[in-house]
Amino acid sequence: MEALAIVWFAAIALLWIGYLLLEGFDLGVGMHMLVSARSENDRRVMLNTIGPVWDGNEVWLITALAGTFAAFPLWYAALLSTLYLPFVLVLVGLIFRAVAIEYRGKHPSGRWIRFWTWALGLGSFVVAFGIGAALALTTTGLPIDANGDRVGGPFAALGPAALLGGLAVVGFCLLHSATFLALKSDGPVRRRATAYAGGWGPFGLLPLLGWMLVVQVQRGDPLGWALVLLGLGGAALGWRSARAGREGRAFAGFAAFLALGVAGIFAAVFPVVLPSTLDRAWDLTVGNAAASPYTLGVMTVVAGFGLPLVLGYQAWSYWVFRRRVAPEHIPADHIRADRTRADRVRADRVRDDRTRTDVTRADRAAR
């Protein structure tokens, strides 16, 4: 087995962990806009905690996929074609989510805002569930033949592991975004997020723990078990800190659980990247799915130079926007932006009030 192929297996694992850690709270915030927000102002506070950074976080997904394509073309081809329909749904979720974030505030009607809130919330749920299911299936196995093509119909690939993985990422995102919101917001949103993270929220980690245990029991090695146990330590720390109101530690603890646990999963399945449930001889492995050493070498050079740079400027953007978003920071722009057809400036004040009432009504309806 090529040393570089092993490096790239680790790099892909790292990209997925980075994606789950970063977009994890974006997706969770999207869901919480439906689950735990109580007013339009709550929702805007939530949305603006991720506003400047969500798009950069999503690039981790693109890079994880493109990196898989470049480093393990056979893995990329088998995984995406076998899970065709789930990925169609993930794409629909991604499209609606992205457009919702940008367009939601661009037209001051209650119905418009309500529609995009649902698009954002449901889109985030579908993406979290779909990505979780796909990741779980790539660690537990898919019905692929020797060429890496699916045997059976469109739903042949789906089973309990898909459900477990889907719930795992959804549960994690809900909790992860709660600790994130506790750190990044102020006012009612912060209070409710803290309560969620110190209360029932951590139970949402159970499916994730389930996925970790299933993989470790099936394929486990000492390293995998050690990482999972370390991760559990992180989760315990996170829970204690959340109950004690220590927001930074709570965020870090639960994040460590995901990072270590998923690292443990990848460590346990290594060197298999996609097991075949039909015949173990058809497993895709780091050895047989990898690109040529030359290509891997080129990629290593570029990633070795590029990834630290990415981490640097993304960290800087978090630093620039480090301030908490509080209800009083939210401007009333959405409503003012509707001056397009206002014929008289004097009428604007009236219009604004009316639209504001409209939005409040939307809130009530949404509840």
């Binding site: 805007r44 400047p52 950074v53 969500w54 798009d55 950069g56 999503e58 693109i62 996929l65 493109a66 394509f69 470049a70 073309p73 056979l74 990329y76 081809a77 995406l80 074609s81 076998t82 990925f87 169609v88 993930v90 794409l91 991604l94 499209i95 609606f96 992205a98 457009v99 974030i101 940008e102 939601r104 661009k106 037209h107 093509d149 469109p154 040529s292 290509t295 080129v298 570029v302 990633a303 590029g306 990415v310 400027y313 993304q314 620039v320 926007f321 480090r322 301030r323 509080a326 920071h329 939210i330 401007p331 722009d333 003012r336 932006a337 001056r339 397009t340 057809r341 014929d343 400036v345």
Partner: protein, 536 residues
């Protein structure tokens, strides 16, 4: 319908749609960088207004480009798994580099720009936009490198029936890629320029129609600029913004079209060499010759040339397009076909990969109705829009637009022409590559056996039902989102500058330009509990 047909329709629809957003993102982004640079250097409030207004339209369009671009990243593996396996060693790398070196820069710095008004010092804020737009331009380069490898595979050797990358430099500097990249970004500038002309024209016309600006009689009269007594933002600066935007747009468009013509000529000459059948089909040229066809009739969709009749042709022009002189004979379809059949076979090989398609006769001539008219629409719409940009510059020499509703409508309609030229160009070049997904490379740099029929590229395990479901889903969502985007754009355009700068409408002195004045001191901690300059 065959899985292959549906998968091709899906790829075509999703990609053409994606490429409606892309050139506007590239072109308008470059314009926005220029506008903010002017504001940063001069402090003139007009440039700030222009940056905010055009920047807002840029963002509304940008997000749809992102959303539809995601589909591209997935669908090679989803619907074209055999293709992904075949080309993965060389094709995946540019995509990964695009993510690492372009998309991260683009998205992170755009976030910094959108939310960075007031937060960042002016220079850093300007740099954020410049980096974000540079990220878009770099991403365009990488994806064109990937596409150009399909047009002209270089830098590989054949190992176990699959191309293996041996020279990444050759892939990155593929002459096809360099020409196509230049051609694409020039086309994008043309789109951006046309967008500026159309919208600025409409606003200048509204100002005239509302009686704000007047043009006294006389041959060399200059516009007399007025102000709206009710809407404080419709002042002299507002007029200056639109006329400056219009002229800027016209210059950008003319430069863009000039670049498009030059790079298109380069690309065409490469194509005559690399994919002679595509160019023969672009001409519906059955017989070898040197004349450029202006009008051909007959059944262009037929499998052979027998019914095609060229009615009007210009001698020598085709030779010039291909080789820069007026006498070179360019090989026609009838001449090329036997050679293709000899080199790449008459029927699809009898391999499991091809499924039911194994043994089918290979049609080497692309759909001529598409290539012939695609080529002409590309050139026609491009030339029309270039001419319109020059006319716009001439008609506005007095400092405003003529008092004609008809011309204003035409200017708005003209926004579509560069889009049409771009789309036609891509449809032509992609359809013209058929029946290959990876075209064989006949040059000395080519390796025998490095080519792939589209019929072999589709995912063997995916069913027609799944593909129909996704095709219908994407087409429906895309159609709906196009309506949403255009509606939003129209709303923001109608609103004028205040739709992007609500503080202008507040009745305060519009030239105070409150935003960014305090940009020098970035975040000073929690004590500074002011309202966000921008929030979703």
């Amino acid at each position: 319908m065959d899985v292959l047909e549906i998968a091709r329709w899906q790829f075509g629809i999703t990609t053409v749609y994606h490429f409606l957003m892309v050139p506007l993102t590239l072109g308008l982004g470059a314009v926005a960088v220029f506008l903010q640079w002017r504001w940063w250097r001069t402090g003139d409030g007009m440039w700030l207004r222009a940056t905010k207004f055009w920047g807002k339209l840029y963002l509304i369009n940008f997000i749809l480009g992102v959303a539809t671009g995601l589909v591209q990243e997935f669908q090679f593996g989803m619907a074209w798994s055999e293709y992904s396996r075949f080309v993965g060693d060389v094709f995946g790398a540019p995509l990964a580099l695009e993510g690492l070196l372009a998309f991260f820069v683009e998205s992170t710095f755009l976030g910094l720009w959108i939310f960075g008004w007031k937060r960042l010092p002016k220079a850093a804020h300007f740099a954020s936009l410049a980096l974000a737009v540079a990220g878009s331009w770099v991403s365009a380069y990488f994806i064109i490198v990937a596409n150009s490898w399909m047009q002209h595979p270089v830098g590989v050797e054949l190992v176990d029936g699959r191309p293996r990358m041996t020279d990444v430099w050759a892939v990155l500097t593929n002459n096809t890629a360099l020409a196509a990249y230049a051609h694409t970004v020039m086309g994008a500038l043309a789109v951006g320029g046309g967008f500026l002309i159309g919208i600025s024209w409409w606003h200048l016309w509204r100002r005239r129609a509302d009686g704000l600006d007047e043009l006294p009689g006389g041959r060399r009269a200059r516009v007399v600029v007025g102000a709206d007594p009710v809407k404080p933002w419709r002042d002299a600066t507002d007029h200056r913004l639109w006329i400056t935007s219009l002229r800027l747009g016209a210059v950008v468009a003319i430069l863009g079209f000039g670049g498009v013509a030059i790079t298109g000529d380069l690309q065409g000459k490469l194509m005559f060499d690399q994919q002679p059948m595509k160019m023969a089909a672009a001409e519906a040229a059955c017989k070898t010759g040197s004349s450029f066809s202006v009008l051909a009739i007959g059944d262009l969709g037929a499998k052979d040339c027998s019914s095609v009749q060229t009615l009007i042709e210009v001698p020598g022009v085709l030779a010039f397009l291909a080789n820069g002189d007026f006498s070179t004979t360019v090989r026609g379809v009838d001449d090329l076909l036997p050679q293709y059949q000899r080199d790449y076979g008459r029927t699809l090989p009898d391999r499991p990969l091809y499924g039911d398609r194994a043994g089918q006769k290979i049609t080497y001539v692309p759909l001529m109705a598409v290539t012939y008219w695609g080529f002409r629409m590309m050139i026609g719409f491009g030339a029309l829009a270039a001419f319109a940009a020059a006319v716009a510059l001439w008609l506005t020499r007095s400092g405003t637009v003529p008092h004609s509703r008809w011309l204003a409508r035409l200017a708005l309609l003209g926004i579509l022409a560069p889009f049409a030229a771009n789309t036609a160009g891509w449809v032509f070049t992609e359809m013209g590559r058929q029946p290959f997904v990876v075209a064989p490379n006949p040059n000395p740099s080519g390796v025998d056996g490095v080519f792939m029929f589209t019929a072999a590229a589709v995912s063997p395990g995916v069913t027609a039902g799944e593909l129909i479901f996704s095709l219908v889903t994407f087409a429906t969502i895309y159609a709906a989102l196009l309506v949403v985007e255009v509606t939003l754009l129209v709303r923001y355009v109608r609103g004028g500058v205040p739709s992007a700068m609500p503080e202008l409408a507040g009745g305060s002195d519009p030239d105070r330009d409150s935003d960014g004045d305090d940009g020098g001191d970035s975040d000073t901690g929690d004590a500074d509990r002011d309202v966000l300059a921008f929030a979703y």
